[in-house]
């Protein structure tokens, strides 16, 4: 694991070329290393691949008490919650570039409904942290218009579901303007907000917008899942010249993790290796990552060796990382929160089958939410979403019982 010394420039992880990141954070360096190892097709069944420290990064994110090697991030680092990480990333970018502004409902004085922009109004002023009326279609359109002329707005949807009101703006103007104008206009906008199935929020507030927007050409979509990648992806998204939709999850805002003190940016198009393995590739993102890792504990106990990849980049897919994994394990299971019909899993399944058919030993499994509006009742809502025991069963079916 070659790790460059902390460089004065901001480290950006260009994962594909397996170049090392100068971040001391274990998870990133591990992901880079894993990719390097994968490309050399080296065996990963050595005990080091299963050592606790490789899962420690995310383990702290779920506040479990596994042997932590976060001491290896010996620069110190600081612990914070996911929404604070997002806040930090956003704040750093706003300090760095005066053209970055935040637009959304109750982002200013109220501090954001999930406290992501708390304190921003005092720090940056009300012209850079705009409290809008409840008019999603219009203020998203406004943000796109201002992006066309050089600003870098960050649009917050109080809940991603509300951005359905702005679908036209996002699809037609945000996604397609660069193309239809022959490259004249770039839309360096970031659209972010919490989505996904929460705790009994009702059907209209439990939407998974990634499945609706994935078809729009010109958009990039990323989903954060840990405080580390939340901050990194936020920064990367703001610096990106393309329109990026950053999907946060309502239930992940209080995840705690230690992140580095020094500045870092994650790569938007890169997937994250959560747990290297040999037997089956489990692809997941956002909240389902935690259901998968919980199921993985049971699976490991039963003798399986799953490789867990958090795909992070929902559009475009990191087919390099995924492909390398498929070549190694030959079995794939996708675990997602989208509905079965037309979700990210459906597209991913199709993409893998198309590109890696020869590598597959069997059909690609896909666990998704039910094709129903999310019911309010607690037990019914649990049935709607994939649960860890279903993941265990699926892996057992795909890999054979042990």
């Amino acid at each position: 694991m070659a790790m460059a010394a902390a460089a004065p420039t901001v480290p950006i992880c260009h994962g594909r070329r397996a170049s090392p990141c100068s971040s001391k954070q274990v998870s990133v360096s591990v992901s880079v290393a894993m990719r390097a190892w994968a490309s050399k097709s080296s065996s990963l069944s050595s005990s080091s691949s299963k050592s606790p420290r490789l899962v420690a990064a995310h383990a702290t994110a779920v506040a479990t008490k596994e042997a932590a090697s976060t001491t290896s991030s010996s620069q110190g680092g600081h612990e914070l919650l996911m929404f604070e990480a997002l806040r930090e990333g956003l704040s750093e970018e706003m300090e760095r570039d005066p053209k970055v502004c935040v637009i959304g409902e109750d982002v200013g004085d109220y501090g954001g409904s999930y406290k992501v922009t708390k304190g921003f109004s005092e720090k940056f002023g009300s012209w850079r942290v705009l409290d809008t009326p409840i008019a999603e279609n219009s203020f998203t359109g406004m943000a796109i218009g201002s992006a066309m002329t050089g600003l870098r707005p960050v649009v917050e949807g109080m809940n991603m579901g509300f951005l359905l009101l702005a679908y036209n703006q996002i699809a037609n103007n945000c996604g397609m303007l660069h193309y239809t104008s022959g490259g004249q206009f770039t839309i360096p906008i970031v659209i972010r907000g919490p989505g996904g199935v929460g705790r009994q929020l009702g059907a209209e507030h439990s939407q998974r917008l990634e499945s609706y927007f994935q078809s729009v050409p010109g958009l990039q979509m990323v989903a954060c899942s840990t405080p580390y990648n939340a901050k990194g992806l936020m920064k990367a998204a703001i610096r990106c010249e393309n329109p990026v939709i950053l999907y946060e999850h309502v239930l992940l805002y209080n995840l705690k993790e230690k992140i580095p003190d020094e500045e870092y940016v994650c790569c938007l198009e890169e997937a994250e290796m959560v747990r290297p393995g040999t037997e089956i590739t489990i692809l997941t993102y956002s909240r389902m990552r935690y259901h998968v890792t919980q199921a993985a504990k049971t699976l490991v106990d039963r003798g399986y060796d799953p490789e867990i990849i958090d795909i992070r980049s929902l559009k475009p897919f990191d087919m390099y990382t995924i492909g390398e994994s498929v070549r190694k394990t030959h079995r794939v299971l996708i675990v997602e929160e989208c509905m079965r019909t037309g979700g990210i899993g459906a597209s991913l399944r199709s993409a893998i089958m198309e590109s890696f058919w020869d590598e597959l030993d069997g059909p690609i499994g896909c666990l998704s939410s039910q094709d129903v509006p999310t019911p309010y009742s607690g037990p019914l809502e649990e049935l709607t979403v994939v649960q860890p025991h279903q993941i265990v069963t699926a892996v057992e079916n795909l890999c054979g019982k042990k």
Partner: protein, 482 residues
């Protein structure tokens, strides 16, 4: 004479209590009553009438008017069960007293009590609305409103039940029986109660997520509301909707909508259907001051004005769109004027009678001329939802100030007391009954079970679609969608 009286009394008693045990007038067998309802009432009426006629003839001419009024009351109320029960109960106690103590001595106070209870229930009372209306491109309605003792009493009772229900919901949320989002309506009760007084079952109401009390006003029960809030089977949406998705088709209540402003075009659609199907009713499309800035509202207003749809846009202006005050989100916080070409009225939304008057006026207008905007100046005591403390963007003094000066329930209480419609003790009894009703509903709702697992797949489509739904892993559960 006394013997004759006793005879009459006994007959009445036998009729009322004999068939149905000691409950007397309270029928156990609802079905039987429904079937023979008309017959039984007629015979009670006849008996009562006969008894009272003899009574009045025998005793004193000064009771004549009281007896007439009694009959008139019961019949005038359409022979409702409550009315008859009350009438007969009062007559019974009166007769008993008269026979026991000697007529004249007991009759006068008894007559007074009965007279007071029954007489002016439906007699009109005229009152003036203290806060004047403000109008935009239309005449203001009169500030003199006609009401009755019964109506005011009903206002009080209904609003009190609603208030207790919302406060119970608050503690249910804190004890995690209710999860997710819960938007409470306390402080704004006068709007939906006043509206109902001016509407009938041909009218439709659609509102946003602050809908618990609106559901109640449209004929829902407290049990349905609590059960739905807790996600149980007995909820109005079978536990699948939750706080923000309460509906009542029979009562003409179309929700219950989660996305701010999305209900306004729906409301225009309801009005379109009413006009298309020639139903003599209006639609009240309710929204808040936050939603008043939604584009779809203006689109709906334009279309409904163009096609003269019988829709009334009711803006419940509680001055805060979650954390944003109205002056920070609207260039023109005069929401009743924002219909521009659509006329509007600004109404004191904490005054039931003002709301009733305005809605009555708007209904007449809408049926003739097309849409109208009503801005209800109201206030919510709780925060936007249970996740919002409600004090970061407004002061506690403001909240308690409104509560002291403009509380809708207190206003009606004062009216009831000052017009001698009820005494303090009677109001206390009503409050106790209301509290009990809410508590009973709550305990019943807590006993209600969660929906069954296969309810997950029902109502996605109408019956007969025949599609299959698999479990997450495509193998475990196979359910045929109904």
């Amino acid at each position: 004479m006394a013997k004759r009286m006793q005879g009459i009394m006994e007959s009445i008693q036998t009729l009322c209590s004999g068939d149905h045990g000691n409950e007397g007038f309270m029928q156990d067998d609802e079905d039987e009553e429904e079937e023979n309802g008309v017959g039984r009432l007629t015979s009670w009426a006849e008996l009562l009438g006969f008894g009272l006629a003899v009574f009045s003839e025998a005793i004193a001419p000064q009771l004549q008017c009281f007896c007439d009024r009694t009959l008139g009351f019961a019949v005038g109320q359409g022979g409702s069960r409550e009315a008859w029960i009350k009438a007969v109960a009062m007559a019974m106690s009166l007769v008993r007293k008269a026979v026991k103590k000697g007529w004249v001595g007991a009759l006068a106070p008894a007559a007074r009590v009965m007279s007071q209870a029954l007489s002016t229930a439906s007699e009109p009372i005229t009152l003036d609305i203290p806060v004047p209306f403000k109008a935009h491109k239309v005449e203001t309605p009169s500030v003199t409103v006609e009401t009755s003792a019964q109506e005011l009493t009903n206002f009080f009772k209904t609003m009190f039940i609603m208030r207790r229900m919302e406060i119970a919901a608050d503690s249910l949320y804190k004890s995690k029986f209710i999860r997710g989002f819960c938007h409470l309506y306390d402080g704004q009760e006068a709007v939906c109660v006043g509206m109902e007084a001016a509407l009938n079952d041909k009218d439709c109401i659609i509102t946003a997520y602050r809908d618990h009390c609106t559901h109640l006003g449209r004929g829902g029960s407290v049990l349905e509301v609590f059960a739905e809030l807790m996600g149980r089977k007995d909820g109005c949406s079978l536990g699948k909707g939750g706080s923000m998705h309460m509906y009542n088709k029979k009562g003409g209540f179309y929700g219950g909508n989660g996305i701010v402003g999305a209900q306004t075009p729906l409301g225009a659609g309801l009005a379109f259907a009413q006009k298309y199907l020639k139903v003599e009713g209006v639609t009240l499309a309710m929204y808040g001051d936050g939603a008043a800035n939604q584009g779809q509202l203006f689109e709906a207003m334009n279309i409904s004005a163009l096609w003269n749809l019988p829709v009334i846009y009711v803006c419940e202006n509680n001055h805060y769109g979650m954390g944003t005050a109205e002056w920070r989100s609207a260039k023109s916080p005069e929401y009743y004027k924002r219909g521009d070409y659509i006329p509007g009225l600004k109404v004191d939304g904490m005054d039931c009678l003002a709301v009733k008057q305005a809605v009555k006026y708007a209904k007449e207008y809408a049926l003739q001329n097309g849409p109208m905007v009503l801005e209800m100046d109201t206030y919510r005591y709780h925060g936007h939802s249970m996740s919002d403390p409600g004090s970061t963007y407004r002061t506690r003094d403001e909240i308690s100030g409104v509560r002291q000066e403009r509380d809708p329930i207190e206003r009606i209480r004062k009216l009831l007391l000052s017009n001698n419609i009820a005494t303090v003790a009677e109001l206390k009894t009503m409050e106790k009954e209301a509290k009990k009703e809410v508590e009973d509903a709550l305990s019943k709702a807590k006993e209600s079970p969660s929906p069954d697992s296969d309810e997950l797949f029902t109502h996605v489509y109408r019956k007969g679609y025949g599609a299959k739904a698999y479990g997450a892993d495509r193998k475990e559960v196979v359910v045929k969608l109904p």
